[in-house]
Symmetry: C2
Subunit: 352 residues, 2 copies
């Protein structure tokens, strides 16, 4: 996507295959800052501290993490250690494990001396595939938007499942970008998405760059807007989908799904098939919900009166900070993936 | 309630009846700061900028506003102007209009020369009545808590309907305070309550003062907690209740009510009968929802690294900031008031 007149992806390998450049997403929307990752350790830190985030993007970033480590030590042990450390860095997003497994498949039968080169090749291929996948998600989602006859079309989204969550184009926002290109009049309600404010910080920033009309709302507001007929549909991304169509996504998604159901508003989940965990039946076993540092809720970053990015402490008691919740399939109108849009309970069949 | 070893109310008249002392609630939880209001203008500013907030408290504060103005000019015109200006200061909370009407009733037949003294008398009486009412709300709510056999009893609350929202004791928190006094083991999930964070700032502070175990959560978290059976009941306050039992309360209440219903968890609303608008049938006409400054969402106050209260700008796009939403009666298990606990659709009958 275009930022300040220049085309960008969220992650790009250097031409000499020694480092990758990412957008530091913790500095947005205040500052557009590119940083270089030069080692596996850099990659793991960037994932843990959410300088890169979004299930598809952390998948591809972890592939580049393996490539960086193969430059350094291409032994079997090093490969296995890197894979393990990356999978531990964020436990919920299945794309991360999926991308690491893909890399292991490609690399385990390659001689150590050729591993680095091969790793960079496949990491780059995963990035290219992600972009194609997301364009196809957009194509699959576009007819669902077109069938709603409101102008403007008011779409509510939670968290950030835009191009910043992927390599480019986004998942939940991909149909929106395509609809706007086709001249459809769209307005997006952007859930702030506490505690890390990915809606306010990232989605609003993306939509500003793309000149798409949007309004930030507190996460509490969606119910009222639906009561007032101000929401035509909801589109969100996903971090993990079980084969029976349960969707693990950013905390708060479930509350919006409940409200959409109560008001008979379409609720769409847009995600690549790599988000579907084919080993996992949601109704039989609980999802592992990542709990993050309570300080993510109790502290917040913004611009101080001098225009400097600065953090303030906003809460003084203990806090609990689970990062995801589960939306059961009966609340989901369609799951939109690169192959089309499907009833949630039939998503698992696509992987057979 | 006790703060730093000393008993306080949220508003107290000076013995010479020339000013009232309030707790500046915009400074909490960072600083416990008492300020004096010396004029009607001070009172209106305090209400508008939410130095005092909470439907019962702004009702009583507006009564003191009239008393202050009667000191200054006890004419009929002055009385009517004061009443009008106070009602405009926050349009949604019906207690405000109710308290102003009560004062007009008492004062309109009184000679100008006796008006000031009479006004102070009735404003003080409203404050005393509020305290009794809230103790009775606690008594009415206590059996509802006792009938849930969980230990600890996990209660979720939204916004602040504690003693800070009233003169003392609180509404939604009143049964909790009484239950804790009876030795019931309680843990409170405190919704942060964006955008003004009354949960994080006020409810958490109140519960800390009262040494009641509690945990701050983002407003997005309640759905997951209910999925995980970690919420035994929900109690909230109300800003306006229609005679057919529709509850207008802090934005986000409705999303929690939807979730509670989906998980078969009792959802209680605790409010004095003065919150019931006897002229208002919710199903026939929309509630007037106050929309506040978008900067309440886009800017936030906290302690900077030097421990100084400081504001940062956290959002860079437009925002929409409605303050309330509506919870229909079918989502409410009981409305708890000073006369007992009632099915929401029978609350109007109490006023007949």
């Amino acid at each position: 996507m275009v930022v300040e007149g220049k085309s960008h992806r969220t992650i790009e390998a250097s031409s000499d295959l020694t480092r990758v450049t990412i957008i530091d997403q913790t500095a947005l929307p205040f500052k557009f800052k590119l940083i270089e990752l030069k080692s596996l350790k850099d990659v793991i830190q960037a994932i843990k501290f959410m300088k890169v985030r979004g299930a598809p993007l952390i998948g591809v970033t972890s592939a580049f993490g393996i490539a960086l480590e193969m430059n350094n030590d291409p032994s079997n042990q090093s490969l296995m250690d890197a894979a393990f450390a990356l999978k531990e860095s964020r436990p919920t997003a299945v794309n991360l494990a999926w991308a690491v497994e893909k890399m292991l498949e490609h690399l385990k039968t390659i001689n150590a001396k050729d591993r680095a080169k091969t790793a960079w090749f496949y990491a780059n291929q995963l990035a290219e595939d992600d972009i194609k996948t997301n364009i196809n998600i957009g194509r699959a989602g576009l007819p669902l938007l077109k069938q709603i006859k409101s102008s403007p079309l008011n779409i509510l989204t939670h968290c950030n499942a835009g191009w910043l969550a992927t390599i480019d184009n986004g998942t939940a926002l991909s149909p929106i970008y395509q609809a706007v290109e086709e001249g459809i009049d769209i307005h997006v309600w952007v859930d702030e998405t506490r505690p890390r404010n990915q809606g306010m910080n990232l989605t609003a920033w993306e939509l500003t760059q793309a000149k798409i009309p949007h309004t930030i709302i507190s996460d509490n507001t969606g119910g009222l807007l639906m009561q007032q007929n101000k929401v035509d549909c909801v589109i969100v991304g996903a971090d993990r989908i079980s084969i029976d169509g349960q969707v693990c996504n950013k905390i708060g998604t479930y509350l919006k799904a409940l409200a959409a159901k109560a008001h008979d508003i379409p609720f769409y989940v847009a995600a690549p098939l790599s988000t579907v965990d084919k080993k996992f039946i949601g109704k039989n076993q609980p999802f592992e919900i990542e709990c993050r540092d309570p300080n993510e809720l109790l502290r917040i970053k913004g611009l101080n009166s001098n225009g400097i990015i600065s953090e303030v402490k906003i809460g003084m008691s203990n806090a609990y900070n689970p990062a995801f919740d589960i939306t059961p399939p009966e609340f989901i109108s369609k799951i939109i993936c690169e192959k089309g849009s499907y009833n949630p309970d039939s998503i698992g069949a696509l992987l057979l």
